[in-house]
Symmetry: C2
């Protein structure tokens, strides 16, 4: 049976205090829910998204073929996160560009579009905003919070900010903070956007333009880091786009990999907001729970009481397995319950979004155990 | 004793046929030499440069402190490549921007600046041009050709194009071709340059501007790939630029690694030619001697008769050790003499330019053996 998704929105009037010291008020969060909340409200699962995703996690929109949610392989009726048993919530983060309030919306304090003045948001701020959404939905405690990549950072942060509100946490293809190299890639992407003459200091909306050149470059860089060297060689290798002979050109496409990257960049630049890109990469940069505990992740995770699932992928060089193992170690230092799966997959960071039977069966088994706790 | 370097230039009037089918005529090659050619002209060593380097390989310019050549740790009196024994030649490649004829010079056929019309050059074309330089210097056979990275590709190509003219070849931190990921990084850098509004289709000289935004991005991307994740974490980690607290900004610098990358990008954009960047990254993309032998590197290297030294560095993820091992294997398949050193160094691809005692002593021992052949 096809799961039909319906986007919803919740308005929040009171100011949300942010880690930067700023506040944001009068904002909306776009969200979707799948399945039914049980009588004692104990079966809710919150799904947190990464850089480029949204609240549309699973199912399709009525009458729109091929509108599958970004984690539709994972979530739905009979799927690893079974919506016949769980009440699953997808939410678009504050500052994103898929329905929740972000830089392209009006600032109620000034009546003008936020643009570059949208306040810097952190993973912790997003979790606070998500907690308010749960309040609005009447959910006191989550059966589980889950996310991949930046979404995994939010899941981890939930267990630290609201330990009593989350019984389980699935942290997938994630890390306890970014390395210098991760930050470096984010910074190049941001510079490409910010130095695009069409960026206009972030107030491009009022000029009727979009910094598409910068967004294209940002996305191309991102794409390289999402894939593994192996899968790139397998899918593209040194294949030429046309025929067998070189055309000897510096500006035109010669190799298939170039064609692929340009296509990805073009597509992205048509729908993604440039200010959102800056905000979300910064949220990634800033996340570092250990920093408030003398750099000790073990001390930081002492606050967590949830039971954990950690998953990493062998060829993921953006958030490599050893970053997940750091989290596992810190949890074990605190005698927490933690399952860890390192999946041998060729697809790099992207693997967490793909249909790998071993990966999906690990997640399924873990959620089955959670479902057994409330007898479904 | 300080080695004093003197830049020289040689003019070539006859057309050089290029792999693209085009020719270039009336061009100059900038070069330098160190040490003395011996009586039987058997002690010449040609040094080939990588993307960002030049003919200024060793020594300093008179009266200019801190003008050391880019491989001054390696080459000079008493150094691993000892200029008291060898006659060392550094040459700037055709299409580069440090003295040899390139895109910013006049096309003798049109009387106009080449700009984007400078013909696409390949590693093989460069080797042909270098062979003409040796003709001009009266050197029939090289004691050795050597190079790192793209320079290593030229050294390898020398042994295939002119097997009788080269007795030894040192191929350092190099590869038999680029992977899809390597090409992808080059392509993003090129797109950043080409889509900079100041690029003007490559004819920016006549507009009195330089596509500095694009060059900055290109260099930042390059720099990330030259360093290892390890050395980046060690040197920069998550260190903030100022103080201990986040400033919460998307456009200003927050982390030291951002400051470093921006500095590298700014510096590079002030001296490097944008068209040269396109040409040189394309020469990298195109190099693939196996492609003319059904993809078999073993078949391709059957033509080589030189004795080889291969060196790679454990943390080099741009040209990783397994790429060097492919060359070693292909040479051994052909029963060629080959020494191979895999240096355990934390510095990534950059390691080939740095002063690592184990690395330098391997190269020294190899050149000592060559010197013994002609009794010096």
């Amino acid at each position: 049976m096809t799961l039909i998704a319906e986007p919803k929105s919740m308005h929040f009037e009171p100011p949300l205090p942010l880690r930067s010291g700023a506040t944001v008020r009068g904002y909306d969060l776009a969200y979707e829910t799948y399945g039914s909340l049980n009588a004692d409200r104990s079966n809710a699962v919150l799904v947190c998204h990464a850089l480029n995703a949204s609240h549309h996690v699973a199912g399709v929109y009525a009458g729109q073929d091929r509108s599958e949610g970004w984690w539709d392989t994972m979530i739905g009726p009979g799927k690893p996160v079974d919506t016949d048993r769980f009440f699953v919530i997808g939410v678009n983060n504050l500052g994103s560009c898929f329905g929740s309030t972000g830089p392209m919306h009006l600032n109620p304090d000034t009546g003008r579009v936020y643009g570059a003045d949208f306040p810097v948001v952190t993973v912790e701020d997003w979790v606070d905003a998500q907690a308010r959404l749960l309040d609005g939905l009447g959910i006191e405690q989550l059966a589980a919070v889950m996310g991949g990549s930046l979404g995994g950072m939010q899941a981890l942060s939930w267990t630290l900010q609201y330990p009593q509100r989350v019984r389980h946490a699935a942290v997938i293809a994630s890390a306890p903070n970014l390395t210098a190299e991760n930050i470096a890639f984010n910074e190049v992407a941001r510079r490409a956007i910010v130095t695009d003459p069409d960026f206009h200091g972030g107030h491009f909306y009022q000029h009727g333009v979009v910094p598409q050149r910068g967004l294209r470059i940002a996305r191309m860089i991102g794409h390289i880091t999402y894939l593994s060297d192996d899968v790139m060689n397998e899918r593209f290798g040194r294949q030429l786009r046309s025929g067998l002979d070189f055309r000897y050109t510096t500006q035109d496409i010669e190799f298939q990999i170039e064609s692929y990257l340009r296509y990805q960049g073009d597509k992205f630049s048509e729908y993604f907001d440039a200010n959102t890109y800056l905000l979300i990469t910064r949220a990634l940069d800033y996340f570092d729970p250990a920093s408030r505990h003398d750099g000790s992740l073990s001390k930081a995770l002492a606050a967590a009481t949830a039971r954990f699932l950690l998953v990493s992928f062998t060829t993921d060089w953006r958030f490599s397995p050893h970053r997940s193992r750091e989290i596992v170690k810190a949890l074990l230092d605190n005698h927490r319950t933690c399952s860890y799966a390192e999946i041998d997959a060729p697809h790099g960071h992207d693997a967490f979004l793909l249909e790998d039977p071993r990966y999906l069966s690990v997640v399924r088994a873990w959620f089955d155990r959670i479902a057994a706790e409330f007898g479904r």
